[in-house]
């Protein structure tokens, strides 16, 4: 059963997103909403990673070796400035999108494995990830015209 690999992928994606949210928040401290919401959402990611941990450990016991090129590398550090903010939010968006699709995949697998507990975790968390995407999209829509057309 390969479910453990996708659980590991999702778990690491949540951990990476939490880390990236904190870096972006710190780098854009002068955008107070970004700073505060990045930290708030990083805590949400921490919580999701923690919820996934026992399932990842349990399924790892019956998993074959991890396949090649399983994990993605979507973040190379935070930037500064107006366009830097836009670009950083875009990184976060792509990382949240990876989490989002992983929840779908893991949820499907949970049905297959008839694992009600895992399904409950997926159902509890996937909405929160979707909201992160929505927030990032809203914030980028607001920032884009000023950063791309107006700013010198």
């Amino acid at each position: 059963m390969h479910l453990a690999h996708y659980l590991g992928l999702l778990h690491r994606a949540q951990v990476n997103l939490a880390d990236a949210l904190r870096q972006v928040g710190a780098s854009h401290r002068d955008e107070p909403d970004v700073f505060h919401l990045c930290h708030q959402q990083a805590e949400r990611c921490d919580e999701y990673a923690e919820l996934l941990q026992p399932f990842a450990a349990r399924y790892a016991e019956e998993a074959p070796a991890e396949p090649d090129r399983l994990h993605s590398n979507l973040f190379g550090g935070a930037r500064t400035g107006g366009i830097g903010l836009l670009r950083d939010l875009q990184d976060l968006y792509l990382m949240a999108a990876e989490c989002d699709i992983c929840w779908t995949v893991v949820g499907q697998a949970a049905y297959g494995a008839r694992d009600r507990d895992l399904l409950a975790v997926v159902q509890r968390c996937e909405g929160g990830t979707a909201m992160q995407l929505k927030w990032l999209r809203s914030r980028m829509k607001q920032a884009a015209p000023q950063a791309l057309v107006v700013a010198d």
Binding site: D33, K141, Q142
Partner: protein
């Protein structure tokens, strides 16, 4: 005669449930003048708070010499707030601006209008050249201009320049009211009527020091409390105020925990079955999720988070749940605090699940702080579109484009209009290059003042300030435009309960000062804004024509003004919108039919996630099939972004006194008001004061990570661990050589609610230290209201003979 400084609320006129509130006419005239000495009485309404009290301005020899309440008006039945009784004297102040000023070699020098406007127009035209020119313009206006002025400004900004960067200081005071109303009901608009005080059997006051911010509304509540069948009274406030001392139950919760309290109260109401199942089923969405969320907040947990006894949570729920006609009012204790919109929505939830809306006595006031804030919101001079339209609805944009005869693409609608804090951020980054500030004083009123001053001083930022006086903000401007004020110009404005009043010109403005409307019209003319047919974009030249243009804009929208005229507003009472063919005499209460403006074609917003502010899209909204039902929003409690730590162990909250308004631009120039509250103070609980070795009157330093201020200590009934600073005190009347920092906003955090974008003024962590002995002299704090002393021996605040006013029950 009544000293309305010593007794801001005046004599009681008790009345019972369902009776009409008795008339009491308050009058104050200059010096020894009597009514016979007055040449003319000119109709107006209050401009120093949001209550909308109707009054007449007394004129003698071309000068304002006093005011008298209008007995005929539904809002105040003749009563006048002390700020209005005395505040008009600021109009006659010798330091009014009478000529435009421009910056020359680092100094502001007098000039003529042509030169001043010429500079603004030259800079504007330069900035408009090239792609994205619109984005260099920011407008920061007020809650104190008139409807006609806001609408004109809105059209100039949104259809002339095409900038989304327009907001008002309403962002600091009522943005959450608007956001909570939109989130729950689909559109802005106060459900209740002030007449609900006459009918209610319980009043719940949520973070609202109504006794000091809307004294006439408080008089009405007190008169009910002194009459037969008085309403029960619940107050939520970390301070001891005249309201909490009158209340049957006071919950002095820890700042920033409103959300936990409301979730706990809703849980009790639901678990005891004190909700209206039929109403919930027929008229709301989201009840099951609300039940799931609030289920996690049992009284013991709420008691722990809010630091109040669990038994009081249960008692409060019983008071709310047992009421048959419940009236709620909400203000800054919620709006400027943690989870502002989410917590305010829970008050709406309480009323919806109990079916306590749209009938006499069952009402909600999501209050405004300022006299004309409702108009800033309606007309699109702030972060909204005119006529409560939805920026994300292409049909609404098309309506505006047809009305103004411009291309829809000109009207900024690709994202929500930019909120004030973001406008200042763009100015800080240099992409907003012209900032036009009208009738507000951000150098004292915005959070983290050292940053705001730095932004306003940036040489690349062209700052225009339009005001009555050389305010702290005007001192930093490149061009200062002298404006006329209340009593010197004509226009309309709308109060909290949707009552529209006409305020007529009584006297000429001083010197070359001009009405704000005329200034905006002059700018539009000089900029030569045109519509698609090459005609002037702004087609009106008088206030009444501007009002008529606005009426067309409001047609068919929730705030429909089409049934009103200046003539109808003359002589009698103010009239509540919507006023149209279907409701020719106006509308006392919204939602009497339980049909809410949530239809996708009507609603002002497609909704937001209350935790993050994420915007929902049109399709997502339609999928909810609201069909005229209201939304019950469920949200978990989250701690504030800033909580006390070792270095900053106390919580700061800021607010007002009854005697001052905002940054004292007017009230600081009215002798009776100013001497009642002449200087800043800090309120401390005696237990904290004892621990820190602070006595009444000692000089105290209050420091946050942003800055520090000094104030003398008032030992008061505020909850332990919390200190209070009034935010009124800037430095315009301090000797420049001897300016000690005293503005509360030196300390406040730059953070805002994710939905309403209202700054968090109620939750800064601070350190408090004793700086010097007060020598036994008490703090310069009033003994009335929230700053009442906890220790004996402080002389009472009085106004003396100069403050004696007439107050006559029954009328003249």
């Amino acid at each position: 005669m009544v000293d309305r400084i010593a007794d801001p609320w005046g004599p009681r006129t008790p009345y019972g449930s369902g009776q009409e509130w008795p008339v009491r006419v308050d009058t104050f005239l200059d010096g020894d003048l009597n009514a016979e000495d007055v040449d003319r009485w000119v109709q107006s309404a209050s401009i120093l708070h949001s209550n909308g009290d109707a009054l007449d301005i007394a004129v003698r020899d071309g000068r304002i010499v006093g005011v008298r309440g209008r007995a005929v008006d539904r809002v105040n039945r003749g009563r006048v707030d002390p700020k209005d009784l005395y505040g008009w004297q600021a109009n006659n102040s010798p330091d009014r601006l009478t000529r435009p000023l421009v910056r020359e070699g680092g100094r502001l020098v007098e000039t003529d209008w042509d030169t001043a406007m010429g500079r603004i127009v030259a800079r504007s035209k330069e900035l408009l050249e090239g792609p994205g020119g619109w984005g260099h313009f920011g407008f920061y206006t007020s809650g104190q201009l008139f409807l006609e002025e806001y609408y004109t400004l809105g059209v100039i900004g949104k259809a002339g320049l095409g900038t989304p960067h327009m907001d008002g200081n309403t962002r600091l005071c009522t943005a959450t009211a608007a956001a909570a109303l939109k989130a729950t009901f689909g559109a802005d608009g106060q459900p209740g009527s002030y007449a609900d005080v006459d009918h209610c059997d319980a009043i719940a006051i949520w973070g609202h020091n109504v006794a000091e911010t809307q004294t006439v509304l408080w008089m009405r509540m007190l008169d009910r409390r002194r009459g037969p069948n008085p309403p029960a009274l619940l107050a939520v406030d970390p301070r001891s105020t005249a309201v909490t001392r009158e209340a049957d139950l006071h919950l002095p919760i820890r700042n920033g925990t409103n959300m936990a309290l409301l979730n706990g109260l809703l849980r009790e109401v639901i678990q005891h079955g004190w909700y209206d199942e039929a109403y919930v089923d027929a008229h709301t969405l989201g009840f099951d999720e609300l039940c799931r969320t609030v289920d996690g907040y049992p009284p013991e947990l709420v008691a722990d988070i809010c630091d109040i006894p669990a038994a009081d949570v249960r008692r409060a729920a019983e008071l709310l749940g047992g009421s048959q006609r419940l009236l709620s009012t909400v203000l800054q204790g919620f709006y400027q605090s943690n989870q502002a919109t989410a917590a305010s929505c829970q008050v709406n939830n309480l009323h919806l699940i109990r079916g306590m809306i749209g009938r006499p006595g069952a009402g909600i006031y999501q209050m405004n702080g300022q006299p004309t804030a409702q108009n800033t919101r309606e007309t699109g001079a702030d972060g909204d579109l005119p006529g409560l339209r939805n920026w994300d609805n292409p049909e609404h944009i098309a309506e505006l484009a047809r009305l103004w005869n411009v291309e829809p693409e000109v009207i900024p609608h690709w994202a929500p209009p930019t909120h004030a804090m973001q406008i200042f951020r763009y100015a800080e980054q240099g992409s907003v290059k012209l900032l036009w500030i009208s009738a507000t004083n951000p150098a004292v009123s915005l959070p983290d003042l050292s940053r705001i001053r730095r932004i306003l001083r940036q040489p690349e930022l062209f700052v225009v300030v339009q005001d009555l006086f050389l305010t702290e903000t005007a001192e930093l401007a490149d061009v200062v435009l002298p404006a006329a004020t209340w009593g010197e110009k004509t226009g309309t404005f709308t109060n909290v309960d949707r009552t529209v009043h006409l305020s007529e010109k009584a006297v000429d403005p001083p010197g070359e000062a001009r009405a704000d409307l005329d200034i905006f019209l002059d700018y539009a003319r000089r900029m030569d804004f045109r519509d698609l047919d090459g005609r002037p974009l702004v087609k009106w030249t008088t206030p009444e024509e501007a009002f008529e243009a606005w009426q067309e804009c409001s047609r068919g929208r929730p705030c429909d003004y089409t049934g009103l005229t200046y003539d109808r507003l003359r002589g009698g009472s103010g009239i509540q919108w919507p006023c149209n063919d279907a409701n020719p005499d106006g509308t006392e209460r919204l939602y009497a039919d339980a049909v809410f403006p949530t239809d996708p074609a009507v609603c002002e917003t497609y909704g937001q996630d209350l935790d993050t502010g994420a915007e929902f899209l049109a399709d997502e909204y339609r999928a909810k099939q609201p069909g005229g039902r209201a939304f019950l929003h469920a949200v978990e409690y989250r701690p504030s972004p800033e909580v006390p730590d070792e270095e900053h162990p106390m919580l700061l909250t800021t607010g007002r006194t009854v005697y001052q308004f905002h940054t004292r631009t007017k009230t600081g120039r009215a002798p009776q008001l100013n001497s009642a509250a002449p200087d800043v103070w800090v309120e401390l609980n005696p237990a904290d004061a004892g621990r820190l070795g602070i006595a009444e009157g000692d000089l105290v330093g209050i420091a946050s990570p942003r800055g520090a201020v000094q104030a003398r200590a008032r030992l008061s009934g505020i909850r332990p661990g919390v200190v209070f600073l009034p935010f009124h005190y800037g430095w315009f009347d301090q000797d420049p050589a001897d300016r000690t920092p005293r503005a509360a906003n030196e300390l406040t955090i730059t953070a805002w609610d994710p939905v309403s974008k209202q700054p968090l003024f109620k939750v800064a962590a601070v350190a408090v230290t004793r700086l010097a002995d007060g020598g036994g002299v008490p703090a310069p704090a009033p003994t009335v209201g929230g700053s009442a002393p906890a220790v004996a021996g402080v002389p009472a605040t009085v106004g003396g003979p100069a403050a004696e006013a007439n107050s006559r029950a029954g009328g003249e």
